[in-house]
Symmetry: C2
Subunit: 239 residues, 2 copies
Amino acid sequence: MRGKLILFPVSIGAEIEASLPAYNQAWLNRCHIFIVEEVRTARRNLIKMGYQHPMDEVTFLELNEHTREEEIADYLDPIERGEHIGLMSEAGLPCIADPGSLITRKAQLLGIEMVPLVGPSSLLLALMGSGFNGQNFAFAGYLPIDAAERQSRLRTMEQRIYKESQTQIIIEAPYRNDKLLKELSSKLQPTTLICVACDIMLPTQYLRTLPARQWGVLLDDADKPLSFHKRPAIFLLYR
Amino acid sequence: MRGKLILFPVSIGAEIEASLPAYNQAWLNRCHIFIVEEVRTARRNLIKMGYQHPMDEVTFLELNEHTREEEIADYLDPIERGEHIGLMSEAGLPCIADPGSLITRKAQLLGIEMVPLVGPSSLLLALMGSGFNGQNFAFAGYLPIDAAERQSRLRTMEQRIYKESQTQIIIEAPYRNDKLLKELSSKLQPTTLICVACDIMLPTQYLRTLPARQWGVLLDDADKPLSFHKRPAIFLLYR
């Protein structure tokens, strides 16, 4: 019998019990091959999640933004021999905001059965708490680097907020969070709402929705300027 | 001290242990007031999730697609008196593909602290298994009813697939699933990919990606026509 491709979420925040259903662990212990973004953190995550096999008996196959399609050509072969393979990302849900779909796309082409498991999505936890429209929303990853493209993307996003009532969700490299928020607060319409969801599921969780212009004021506060520097954050935009 | 608004996911599929982190239950038992879509199913869900208080000591406040904003004006008042309030949807994550954001938006305006908890999102489980782009995706709920608007929406969605590499996710009333899939398979470009994710987290789970034209063939199969009639399903489109 063929094996399956199991899609394992990885906990975010401090406690496993808050992040993952108990059920996931049983699936975890049925896998001895894992497709991961980075071997070092994958090992650490497996131990944290209560994986019980000796690490030197585990096969890790790397799949990250540097991986070319040719390299993964035989990754799924063990499934034909009846073995289950686990797919994990660095944190949160595999294939969401990460390059994992290179392998799930291949699995679909081969008609391999997949088992997506429940876990934390910082995008959706942020959307739940934002107060924004969760019946129509888009996640678009990072803004383009090029200034003109970036400006045009922001314009398109704002159009979709006002014309389509579509919540817009973006992320940024954590060391550029403050820069992005300053940019959003000055370039969006002053009354467009921005939600900053930072340190989701950590004791320092911050989840606040304010008009664009007010974020500018908070960031520039002379006494106690607000900062999200180097903290994981999601930015959501709506009206 | 002020209470908090706790955002409770509800399990989908058969087993609680597969759907929800153990941690959620502790929060559940700290709430005696719940904002719910429908009282009858909310009671059933609370019992299923191991809620330990007698039901006649629980206050239920209704919030669904018929609720007007005036009606919820005082829903959050108990939080000022130090009580926690739970927000639950019928299934899956609150405020995602449901009208819950009416109350979270108000909570944000009042500066009330929210605790979004981890749980199953059939949208994201479907996206994880589809093989489609999870770094750029949009969920737009139901297609418009009006024929011309519907056609134009489909065109826009297909444009966003090809120009923006954005996965498009939609849902339909379960008794119209087959009709929708037939429509998609005939109106989209024949090679546009459709993923049908049906009965997610149930033993009958179906999760398959095929070109649009092939779905038409499967639905019309003379011997064994495929059907998703009255089963919960998510439809995802990509290239």
